[in-house]
């Protein structure tokens, strides 16, 4: 296969990257010059030196994000970028025989089977509506360990095949051992069936992609044989809680400028976000086999955040990796509460910090190293901000204790202390501007595109939503800062967090849950507030926004978890997104299928709470899908002992692993099924 590049010249790529880096470095340098001039006057103290180092790192990070958004804003003002994968002319390469076949692959792990199935059904229907359904197969790659969830996934899969007459087109397999988590799951797919497909579209359990979008992605890959991966920018959709609706609005309203900005400077060396992306199978198989890192977790072992590493491997092998900012119809879901968001962050934090080692990998280019560093910085910036605040408070205290000396030596006239209020205020304003201007850019784009703004409820509602979102993000930022700082320290202390499944269901937080999660934040806020008010009153005033977020974290977290409040905001037209205003077909299909899947599971002959092992149909299906494995005599005795234990003590006394062993063995499964009908108890729990 050819790796012929586009007409996009090397010079243009370099020029764009130099421009971007210059803007970032110059902004950092200017901000730093101002703050240094204030510090230098009386000689730099060790605290000030530390502040300077921290500020340099933080302002670098902030200006990277700011200039990405600003370049994206500039590109959108000019009507888009001709150097984006959607606008590039097709490139010639070696013709590959036969029509392209694409596998939609969804790795899942103990996810809600109803939502997973409804999403897959919606995507399948949407693909069929394009008229090109024959080019696609669908794989549910289950790593699910929970026995009930496993059985339910199988039944849902079979019903899907039956409903769409897609036997032999929609596939399901459950791995016996979930080696290397998601990346191992995908690797297993490539190992076993990769030869059947030219492309695979990797989905997450909460992914939703319109058929049109999938077809466009395939066409772009066909048109550009040098491209190994195209990432679609997924937008959050279908949310109800206030927290997720605010985040959904923010991603939707501000997302465009960031994605176009990323495309502006990354071009053909972009990244991979792990899902909602199309991948050319052959180069992926050739270059993206992930090794185990030497040492133990959290820095060694299996690579957690595999996507960034895989994209790096493809780029280093000479393949192009693009983001497609113009592709719509790609959706994902967000955690419904602040606590769930933090839990997800904890997993991602470990994955990104593990990339510290990848920065020292010999075979990666400077750009790949930069991406690894950016991922690391997205979490390390929190403890850096935390230290920065503490040191600033300390410095303010020291300054407040210093008595100014007006007369030196024999001077008759007083020497007035110089004021650096102008410099320091400028630094603060520059930093705040860089944080808030991207929101303003998006609002300007909205004003220029009235039709787009209508989807956000019109100008006034959109502007009010931006204002309220800014307040909300300002209040939640200190809470997330403390969470992420804790995660970073825990990981640096070599405490692995594992890879637990993520909670995606709406649920209102109870007071007790909120106190458990945010009690320490409230306490930190109160103590920091009292100390700063007591000792450095000037600093206290500056600290109020941070303190407010911490002190109000319990009511804020509870209120934002509410779906009632989220829906009330929607009725008022707040945090509205175009997908809520005018629901796309794929989301309509998702909602229809959620109802269908829930209704299909209600068997009038069996109570809803019985185990799937009791259901003869589910049990037969499970048996049909189990692989033939010879069972050793000792294992057979162990399985029988487990059945006795289950009968005598009840299924709840068995661990999920034991219950899984039982339903993984055909003989034990049939025994359990019969017992569940004969002893008046649901044997499988």
């Amino acid at each position: 296969m050819s790796k012929k590049t586009f007409e996009l010249s090397r010079g243009r790529i370099t020029a764009r990257r130099i421009l971007f880096l210059l803007l970032v470095v110059l902004t950092t340098f200017l901000a730093l010059a101002m703050i240094t001039s204030a510090f230098l006057q009386n000689g730099i103290t060790p605290t000030e030196l530390m502040l300077l180092i921290l500020y340099t790192l933080l302002i670098l990070w902030v200006s990277t994000s700011f200039w990405t958004a600003t370049l994206g804003f500039w590109v959108l003002l000019r009507g888009g970028d001709r150097y984006s994968i959607g606008r590039m002319p097709p490139t010639r390469g070696e013709t590959v025989a036969g029509p392209p076949r694409t596998a939609l692959v969804m790795p899942i792990y103990n996810e809600d089977p109803t939502r997973v199935t409804a999403g897959l059904r919606a995507m399948w229907q949407s693909i069929q509506e394009t008229g090109r359904g024959e080019e696609f197969d669908l794989f549910i790659l289950s790593d699910t360990r929970d026995p009930e969830c496993w059985l339910q996934e199988e039944v849902n899969w079979y019903r899907m095949c039956a409903d769409f007459d897609a036997h032999g087109r929609i596939f399901y397999r459950n791995r016996e051992r979930n080696v290397a988590r998601k990346s191992g799951n995908l690797e297993d797919f490539v190992h076993r069936w990769g030869g059947r497909y030219r492309y695979m579209v990797v989905l997450d359990a909460d992914s939703l992609m319109a058929g049109d979008t999938l077809v466009k992605m395939v066409d772009r890959m066909e048109n550009h044989p040098g491209v190994a991966l195209i990432q679609s920018p997924p937008l959050p959709a279908n949310h109800k809680s206030l927290f997720s609706r605010i985040l959904q609005f923010a991603s939707n309203f501000y997302g465009d400028i960031f994605v176009w900005g990323i495309n502006y400077w990354q071009l053909s060396s972009s990244g991979y976000w792990g899902h909602n992306a199309i991948i050319r199978v052959q180069p992926f198989a050739k270059h993206c086999g992930l090794p185990k890192l030497p040492g133990r977790e959290p820095f060694g072992g299996e690579i957690f955040s595999h996507d960034t590493v895989e994209a790096g491997m493809l780029r280093e092998a000479g393949w192009e990796v693009w983001i497609a900012p113009d592709l719509k119809g790609s959706f994902e879901e967000l955690p419904p509460t602040l606590i769930d968001y933090a839990k997800r962050d904890r997993r991602w934090c470990q994955g990104n910090l593990q990339h510290l080692r990848m920065v020292f990998a010999k075979d990666f280019s400077g750009l790949s190293r930069l991406y690894f560093l950016m991922g690391i910085m997205s979490y390390v910036s929190s403890p850096l901000w935390f230290f920065f605040l503490i040191l600033t408070g300390f410095e303010a205290y020291v300054m407040s204790q210093t008595m100014p000396v007006y007369f030196f030596g024999d001077n008759l006239f007083p020497v007035w202390p110089e004021s650096y209020v102008v410099e320091m205020t400028t630094v603060l304003l520059v930093t705040l501007s860089m944080l808030f201007l991207p929101k303003f850019w998006s609002l300007i784009l909205g004003i220029l595109n009235w039709r787009r703004l209508k989807g956000y409820g019109g100008f006034f509602r959109a502007a009010l939503s931006v204002f309220l979102e800014s307040i909300f993000s300002m209040l939640t930022a200190p809470v997330l800062m403390i969470y992420q700082s804790k995660f970073v320290f825990a990981i640096l202390m070599r405490r692995s967090v594992g890879w637990p499944p993520q909670n995606r269901d709406d649920h209102r937080l109870s007071l007790w849950e909120a106190i458990q999660a945010h009690g320490e934040h409230t306490l930190i806020g109160l103590v920091a507030g009292w100390i700063s008010y007591r000792y450095v009153q000037g600093f206290f005033l500056w600290l109020i926004p941070v303190l407010a977020g911490l002190v109000l974290s319990i009511p804020l977290s509870m209120l934002s978890s509410s779906t009632a409040v989220g829906q009330a905001a929607r009725r008022l037209g707040l945090f509205l997104t175009p997908e809520e205003y005018d629901e796309p077909r794929i989301i309509q299909l998702l909602k229809q299928n959620l109802e269908i899947v829930e209704a299909a599971d209600a068997n009038p002959l069996l109570p809803a709470e019985v185990s799937k092992v009791t259901d003869p149909g589910a049990c037969a299906l499970h048996l049909a899908l189990l692989p033939m494995r010879p069972v050793k005599k000792r294992q057979r005795h162990q399985l029988r002992a487990l059945i006795y234990q289950l009968v005598e003590e009840g299924p709840e006394q068995l661990s999920p692993a034991d219950r899984r062993s039982l339903i993984s063995d055909p003989e034990s499964l049939v025994k359990l099924h019969t017992l569940s009908w004969s002893d008046g108890k649901d044997a499988a729990g």
């Binding site: 197969d137 039944v155 899969w157 079979y158 095949c161 039956a162 036997h167 032999g168 596939f171 399901y172 397999r173 490539v190 190992h191 076993r192 069936w193 990769g194 030869g195 059947r196 052959q282 198989a285 050739k286 993206c288 086999g289 992930l290 090794p291 185990k292 890192l293 030497p294 491997m313 080692r357 020292f360 990998a361 010999k362 075979d363 002959l605 069996l606 109570p607 709470e609 019985v610 185990s611 009791t614 003869p616 149909g617 589910a618 037969a620 299906l621 048996l623 049909a624 899908l625 189990l626 033939m628 055909p666 049939v670 019969t674 569940s676 009908w677 004969s678 002893d679 108890k681 649901d682």
Partner: protein, 162 residues
């Protein structure tokens, strides 16, 4: 959790004097089991349930009600599988998968009724072809490609093993 029973047949008592077992709940449970397996003809269900209970009695004699029910259910499974294997033309085998696949297709596809398994008429003969198209095919034939772990070499750290 006990599956709910519906349409319990009239209570009958098994022979055996003082140690007699009330057969009605057993028959009701077996009948319910037939229904959940996809049978809907009440007369057929009653007759099959009774046959299963008789066979269970022959096997276990004067055992407890629980034992009797267990054997009756196993007999129901055996009869169902036998009828299905006949309908599908499946030869006797130790591999439970083909029969389980047919059972799953029959029970999970709403358009099928299991009554025809015992009718021995044209519908039974047609069932084979219709079921064949609905058999679960969870994975396609494999078409493997190699995916070797890449070698990562590090400064300051140990490299990965290939």
């Amino acid at each position: 959790m006990t599956p709910s029973t519906t349409q319990s047949p009239a209570p009958t008592r098994s022979s055996g004097g003082a140690e007699a077992i009330d057969a009605a709940p057993i028959l009701a449970r077996v009948a319910h089991y037939w229904r959940v397996q996809g049978l809907s003809d009440d007369v057929l269900i009653a007759s099959l349930s009774d046959d299963c209970l008789q066979q269970a009695r022959r096997l276990v004699g004067r055992a407890s009600a629980e034992q009797l029910l267990l054997r009756a259910l196993e007999e129901a499974q055996r009869r169902f599988d036998h009828a299905l294997a006949n309908a599908m033309g499946l030869p006797p085998s130790n591999d439970p998968h083909p029969l389980a696949a047919a059972r799953a297709a029959l029970m999970l596809t709403p358009e099928f009724s299991a009554d025809c398994l015992f009718a021995h008429d044209e519908a039974t003969r047609q069932l084979k072809d219709r079921l064949q198209a609905c058999l679960p095919r969870n994975t396609p034939p494999e078409s493997p490609i190699d995916m070797k772990p890449a070698l990562l070499r590090f400064w300051l750290f140990q490299s990965t093993a290939r």
